[in-house]
């Protein structure tokens, strides 16, 4: 039985930029940049879905919209059955965002203090939070380091703390934006292993935005390839690529798209 946890219809994000003082004659003139254009997407419960595309393809913008950090300009989306635009609080209680942005923690506080703060923001009662923090620290193997200040952690440890924070409220969907950026091969391998063997097996849905094709090939059940804001292809990796590799398929798709757009 399939169980859809995420679906988008014609999801679009346009950024309007006023020219301002860069165009003194017409400071109120606007330019519209479409970062995400008419995305149709369906993700099933327990799937690991890869959002692929080069830099500027719209992966992060789409991820931010689905995490309620950005308001869509058009279209609609449902996350765990909740309307993205009208039920943001409910949506947020079902998701976690894990990015490679290590500055999203308080560096002067230790790991445990950071988690305690974010557990409170998730509305987890103090007693339960205390227990839950120890559980997630153990899962990411950070129990011993949790009393050290965040600023003393290595990149890999910071990333594991990001994962621990994501696990706190036991969300249904994990959004990961370039989660292995800056990690060494061993830490990357451990991270992939965690996604496949801990999250996916526990029935969690993972949406990974990445431009590492090998990473996507390794961990994703299905991928969606974005280019210039549009979802150009999506499906199971094997179905999309056939006998070729994801890398070849991706290159062909990008070239084909460029020809379509430029006409040569």
């Amino acid at each position: 039985m399939t169980d859809v946890v995420l679906e988008t219809h014609n999801l679009t994000k346009e950024f309007i930029r006023r020219k301002g003082l860069s165009s003194p004659r017409n400071p109120f003139d606007k330019t519209v940049f479409t970062a995400v254009k008419g995305v149709e997407l369906t993700v099933q419960r327990g799937e690991v879905f890869g959002l692929l595309g080069p830099n500027g393809a719209g992966k992060t913008t789409l991820t931010k919209m689905l995490c309620t950090l950005l308001l869509p300009s058009a279209g609609s989306a449902k996350v765990c059955g909740y309307d993205l635009a009208r039920q943001q609080g409910k949506v947020k209680s079902k998701i976690a965002l894990i990015s490679s942005e290590e500055r999203s923690f308080y560096w002067r506080l230790n790991g445990r203090q950071n988690l305690d703060f974010f557990a409170a923001l998730h509305g987890i009662p103090k007693k339960i939070a205390r227990q839950r923090i120890e559980e997630v620290l153990e899962i990411v193997d950070m129990t011993e380091a949790a009393s050290r200040r965040f600023q003393e952690y290595s990149t890999g440890m910071k990333q594991r703390m990001g994962l621990a924070r994501g696990l706190l409220a036991d969300p249904e969907i994990f959004f990961m934006d370039e989660p292995t950026k800056g990690l060494d091969p061993i830490a990357t391998w451990q991270f992939h292993d965690f996604i496949r063997n801990r999250l996916a097996e526990a029935g969690k849905t993972v949406i990974v935005a990445t431009h590492h094709l090998a990473e996507a090939e390794q961990i994703c059940d299905r991928v969606g390839i974005m280019y210039a804001g549009e979802m150009r292809a999506s499906g199971p990796v094997k179905e999309l690529t056939g006998d070729s590799t994801l890398s070849d398929f991706f290159r062909d798709l990008v070239e084909q798209t460029m020809v379509e757009r430029t006409g040569n």
Binding site: K13, F15, I16, T61, K64, C67, T68, L69, L70, L71, S73, G89, K92, S93, I95, A96, L97, E101, R103, S104, F105, Y106, W107, R108, L109, Q113, D116, F117, F118, A120, L121, H122, G123, P125, K126, R165, A169
Partner: protein
Amino acid sequence: MLTLRKPMAFLKKDFLMEVSYRFSFVLQFASIFFSVVMFYFVAKLLGEAPSVQKSLSEYGGNYFSFVLIGIAFSNFLSVGLGSFSTNIRSEQMIGTLEAMLVTPTTLSNIVLSSSQWSFAFTSLRVGIYLLIGGLFFGVSFTGAAVLPALLALVLTVVAFSSLGIISASFIMIFKRGDPIAFAITTSSTLLGGVYYPISILPGWLQSLSYLFPITYSLRAIRLSLLQGAGFGEVGGDLLALVLFSCITLPISLVCFRFAVARAKRDGSLAHY
């Protein structure tokens, strides 16, 4: 209890962050002492001059007591006006705002809760100002009417915070160069009677001073703490603060809602 969990978590986090910079933490208290000493000598210089006595007769005639309350409680002006925008900007700059916004906590809750520490710390600072003045420099609060002073303080915080939320809305859209806080802080310090009574200002400036809540706040607090004035005597000032809050609070909430919607639309919520 769960409703207090989030505000308490902000308070704890901000306290831990503050004390993690130990030297700066201690230095802030030392600066209070030096500031009080400085004004003690200024007061000594002005001494018992008849013109000073006459201008301050309403408050008991002692310049040091007058200015001590002015500098202590004007801290609430700075924190009310600045803390919301400063804290939101600080979270934007260190990169934690987005991580907070992905949790089921509203932005208004984040903004209000993240300012609690500033208000708590300012209350502590004000207490220390009054304590130093009372213990070491002979300021007497024996006949003080505490309840009217406390009510005036609460209304002062609400009035200043409304302006502060408007200022935070501005910061959310334009990121820097907030003219609201600058204009109100400068005008309030100049016209609100922080360092001198407004009675020494020219008539037209005195009229202007009644546009700023600090004028009413300081008068009510001074009269209550130094002259033991009750609710009846400071009722006019309290009413002015209530009216001021009734006008500015809804405006500030509308501004804030507009700013958040605009920032979410523009994608600039976490920009700085």
